[in-house]
Amino acid sequence: MYSIEVNNLTKKFGNFTSVDNISFKVNEGEIFGFLGANGAGKSTTIRMLCGILEPTSGDAVVGGYSVVKEPDNVKLNIGYMSQRFSLYNDLTVEENINFFGGVYGLEGNLFDERKNWVLDIANLKGKEKLMTGSLPGGIKQRLALGTAVIHQPKIVFLDEPTSGVDPLSRRNFWELINDLSENGITVFITTHYLEEAEFCNKILLINAGKLIAEGNPQELKTNYLKNDILELECSNPVKAMKILESQNFIDATSIFGNNLHLNVNKNYSNKNQIEKLLISENIQVTGLDKIVPTLEDVFIHLLDKKK
């Protein structure tokens, strides 16, 4: 039994196809990463899965209910944190919790229990009267997540929950997500940060509304990337990139911090090929090694192939 089952889901806005015939399945309790560049169609897909946007064609079964035929039942079983959502800034922490508890119809002991839980995971015990607008971004996102699952749904959709949050807070946020998953909740999450994708049990990459890769992080790296990835440390990475880009033994280059990642194909024989080239251009090579590819290497490769 899958938690989410998507079949040929398509959404058109006028002539423009935002989500193009995608199908996939999500297991119960899984952390499912939904990745893609800006405008790839992530939010549109999520909104259809939440039953607030009607698909143009295709269907999805979420928590056992069809989003086309029974959107109201779908809503009862899910939590959703929309991309733009960041609570009501002009309400206090407690008022926000009360509001969402109320909107979900929670009452009595259960409500008190859930309120405590939300305060707890957001580290806001004793700070109930603070204005939400004055909270730091990381805490706000935790509070938003807490209110989104205040009614204990089986599935939660998080649309770029960590965007604009500092790295430490993002790590803490992911711990929370892991906790949810360990409690059997299916977490469907979109993100721009590819290093976060490594924490997912399963990843799906879409581009321009089409599904282009699917699998767990390990599978993606081995199934979709036949080439080797080299990491180059040198004195002038920008200039080196320009030179190497045009070589026939290199498929793709990208900058990672101060280093370059080189995606080399079958025309590549050994390190000397590169070192010679760079030294003749007066660039010092301080390191050149084959590495385990990151997801970013895989995606850059895949998106490059598309073009």
Partner: protein, 377 residues
């Protein structure tokens, strides 16, 4: 189900309460408007140019003319000698009103077998002024008639019907205080403008912030959402209505003659109809700025121009008369005039209340249909 509506209403109240500036505007702007309008929009007309054609030319008829001129509303422009001069006088605007006293005026007064008739001819180009002049003329005639009757009763010891016939149209505003007459229109205008704007802005704000999506996934239904969102503004508008009545009493001596319960119910129905308009506008607007513009345009102009607040609807072209039905203010003004000024009961205005309810249903229906369409898009 009420749990959800209550949660929304509570949150909305809290937000409104924190937004002191908005709260201040909603509560005090109406009063400010009332005072400014109340003093500025004063239709009392002074020095109306009067021409007199006295065919009777007796002591009584001259007495009648003098009593009309004794109020400072009329000023004698000229004396006419025959009927042919009447048209010329009005055409050339050498007088705004011509008073014609027929030959048998004094005879009829003394024999009191039949009423003594007088004729007023009013320049009707400006329907509004004409109506006002007509009222003044009626009032002046009534005054004279009453005086005359007193005299005759004393002289002959008989009671008789009014010896001067007149047509008392605005009988419920006998002392011709136009400001008082305007208060219902002001209340209607202020309530519709403030509630439509505040309701539509508060809904569009959720759209702009994206919070509406968060609420939509919670399986709350439209009715719970909309009633919760509107409740605080309905309460505030009510508060406004009470404040306006108090200020109206203090500044303009407006006293509610009729039943407070009906006033309460009618006002509630009216505010709800305004709210439905606000909801409709929120559905068709993407930003608060657009909503504000549409709301202002859709409420302010019609409630001033088309509602009968200032310009009498009877004197509008027929097409425009039909058009006046687009503003609920028209109907509420009739209700308010009935309750506040005339002090009459439900039988005089139940039709208007039904119309307001229909208005609400139509706008709510449209809002729901359009918002469903937008989701599907």
């Amino acid at each position: 189900m009420f749990r959800r509506t209550r949660a929304i209403a509570k949150k909305e109240f809290k937000q409104l309460w924190r937004d002191k500036r908005l709260l201040f505007v909603i509560l005090f702007f109406p009063i400010f408007l009332l005072i400014i309008f109340g003093y500025a929009v004063n239709f009392d007309v002074k020095n109306i140019q009067l021409a007199v054609l006295d065919k009777n030319n007796t002591e009584v008829s001259r007495d009648f003319v003098n009593s009309i001129l004794s109020s400072n509303y009329f000023k004698l422009a000229k004396q006419l000698n025959n009927d042919s001069e009447i048209k010329e006088t009005l055409d050339k605007k050498s007088a705004q009103i011509v008073l014609v006293i027929p030959k048998d005026f004094s005879k009829n007064i003394h024999t009191h077998k039949q009423p003594a008739k007088i004729q007023f001819l009013i320049d009707g180009v400006d329907g509004n002024t004409a109506t006002i002049i007509k009222n003044y003329a009626s009032a002046a005639s009534t005054k004279f008639a009453i005086k005359l009757q007193k005299n005759l009763t004393q002289k002959y010891g008989v009671k008789m019907s009014y010896p001067v016939l007149l047509e008392p149209i605005f009988w419920f505003n006998p002392d011709l205080q136009t400001t008082k007459f305007l208060i219902p229109g002001l209340i209607a205008m202020i309530l519709i403008v403030s509630s439509v704007i505040s309701v539509s802005l508060s809904l569009v704000k959720e759209k702009e912030l994206g919070t509406i999506e968060q609420i939509n996934v919670s399986s709350i239904n439209s009715f719970e959402l909309l009633s919760g969102k509107s409740a605080p503004y309905i309460v505030v508008a009510f508060f406004d209505a009470i404040l306006i009545l108090i200020v109206g009493y203090i500044f303009f001596d407006v006293i509610v003659k009729g039943n407070y319960f009906f006033l309460f119910i009618s006002t509630l129905i009216y505010i709800i109809s305004a709210t439905s308009m606000g909801i409709f506008i929120s559905v068709i607007s993407e930003t608060q700025q657009i909503a504000f513009t549409i709301a202002t345009f859709a409420t302010l102009l019609p409630s001033v121009i088309l509602s009968g607040f200032i310009f009498p609807i009877e004197s509008m072209p027929v097409i425009i008369q039909y058009l006046t039905n687009i503003t609920p203010a028209k109907f509420f003004i009739i209700v308010l005039r009935a309750i506040i000024i005339r002090g009459v009961g439900l039988s005089a205005f139940w039709m208007q209340l039904i119309y307001l309810i229909l208005f609400t249903l139509v706008f709510m229906g449209l809002a729901i249909i359009i918002s469903k369409k937008q989701e599907v898009k």
